[in-house]
Amino acid sequence: MFDTALFPLTWRVTRHRLVASPLVLAAGLAFPAVVVWVGMRDCYETAAKLFFFLFPHVFLIAAQDMVRTDIDGGALENVLFLGGRFRRYLWAKNFVLAGAGGAYVLLLFALFSTWGLALGEFRPVHAAQFGLGLLAGFYYIGLAGALSYFLKAGSNTLVLLLTQSAAVIALLFSATSRTGFLDYAASGRFPGLASKLLFGGLVAVLPNVIVSGRLAAFGAEVLAGLALSLFVQHRLALALELNK
């Protein structure tokens, strides 16, 4: 399934798709603008929290509509993808998107860190948070890619965003001064198995929370989720046939 000769082709197709998508362009430009605005209005540390928490969503937005439209639109029934090459193309998309998204957020991180260094507020832990955020971003690509085998257009990303919204709303309603889940999450301490499992469930749909780096186990959960989603995608691609 790993065909390095396909990377240039996949990169060119993916680059054109990303540039042609108003949503991806808007999200990609609005995100750093909001972070800078917050940093100017409040402080660098607040902007840093926002940056590290939100940048994995760059990968989620970029992963919209990864597979289904290509299949249904008939574009894969092309001389470019003969001999089962369409399967390897779909598989290569994961790595190309991860590379493209990674390069973009690395550029943002470099600019953001330069800003922090100039202010004297950059801390080494930011580098670790960036690494964890990258892991969350790669997980989004794996998960959204697997969903995209079943969901049309950008609904793979939309489903994840709606699930995240529901999870966050549920979290807010669960917060109390004594036993609220939000309180556990804020403190990083989860008394009892049930609250740990609940937080594990939250990490599965909103992996961004691991940038806080409270519990390494949840980082490992995202890593396992990434491996599982890629395995599922691999199986789906192998079973895929083009019969429009």
Binding site: P8, R12, H16, G74, A75, N78, V79, N243
Partner: protein
């Protein structure tokens, strides 16, 4: 060039192919004939690797394979020139603009090169078909598989494509064509495979067909086809 052995394929309750076998020699034009739903496109897609047979095998000799679908579809956000650039080079996607080669091929197909600045989704059906041929000519295939080769083409373009097939064959390319246009197929094909209900009911190679055509009382292909398919 192609050797298919006992291909079978089922889509749910529909047995699309059943024990289909055939051989196609290098540098020949073979026409695959059959009624609607006979299994022609399924067979082509198995040969091309878009579908997997439930049983049976297909062997295709090493070399570059080209494919022109019945109704070509493309990535909607790419223009014609970019798509042709993706097809160029032995590894695909090396980004070089074939330039003069594209222009020469476009002229041969009566395809206006100015259209390359537009997205193929905006082309007429005929131009989309010609663009699919152009994409394959850029890739210079050793085997060219074409589903409904003359669909949506105007008469001058049909003649150009027919001549193109003969030129390609003479240059050593093997062609497998699936078509309902029996008169056109009779003019250019060296051999025939006739499918009915997912089964190959006749397979005439180049020798048999030459023999048949040399006979004074030889019927035309339409008569043979209609007799074979029971009409």
């Amino acid at each position: 060039m192609i050797e298919a052995h006992r291909l079978s394929k089922r889509f749910g309750p529909v047995q699309a192919l059943k024990d289909v076998s055939f051989k196609i020699r290098k540098a020949t034009i073979t026409a695959m004939l059959g009624e609607n739903g006979a299994g022609k496109t399924t067979t082509l897609k198995i040969v091309l690797g878009f579908l997997r047979p439930d049983s049976g095998t297909v062997l295709v000799a090493p070399g570059r394979v080209g494919y022109v679908p019945d109704r070509p579809a493309y990535f909607t956000w790419l223009d014609g020139r970019t798509i042709l650039g993706l097809a160029d080079g032995p590894a695909n996607g090396n980004g070089k603009d074939p330039g003069a080669r594209i222009l020469a091929a476009a002229g041969g197909l009566l395809f206006d090169p100015a259209l390359l600045r537009r997205r193929p989704g905006s082309y007429s059906a005929g131009n989309a078909k010609k663009f699919a041929y152009l994409q394959n000519l850029v890739a210079r295939p050793d085997l060219l598989v074409v589903d409904e080769p003359f669909a949506a083409l105007d008469p001058p373009s049909i003649k150009r494509v027919r001549d193109l097939f003969l030129e390609l064959r003479d240059a050593g390319t093997t062609l497998l064509l699936s078509s309902h246009m029996l008169a056109e197929m009779e003019r250019i094909a060296d051999g025939f495979i006739v499918l009915r209900g997912g089964t190959a009911i006749a397979h005439a190679g180049i020798k048999e067909w030459r023999l048949l055509r040399s006979a004074r009382t030889a019927p035309d292909l339409e008569s043979v086809f209609l007799r074979l398919t029971g009409f």
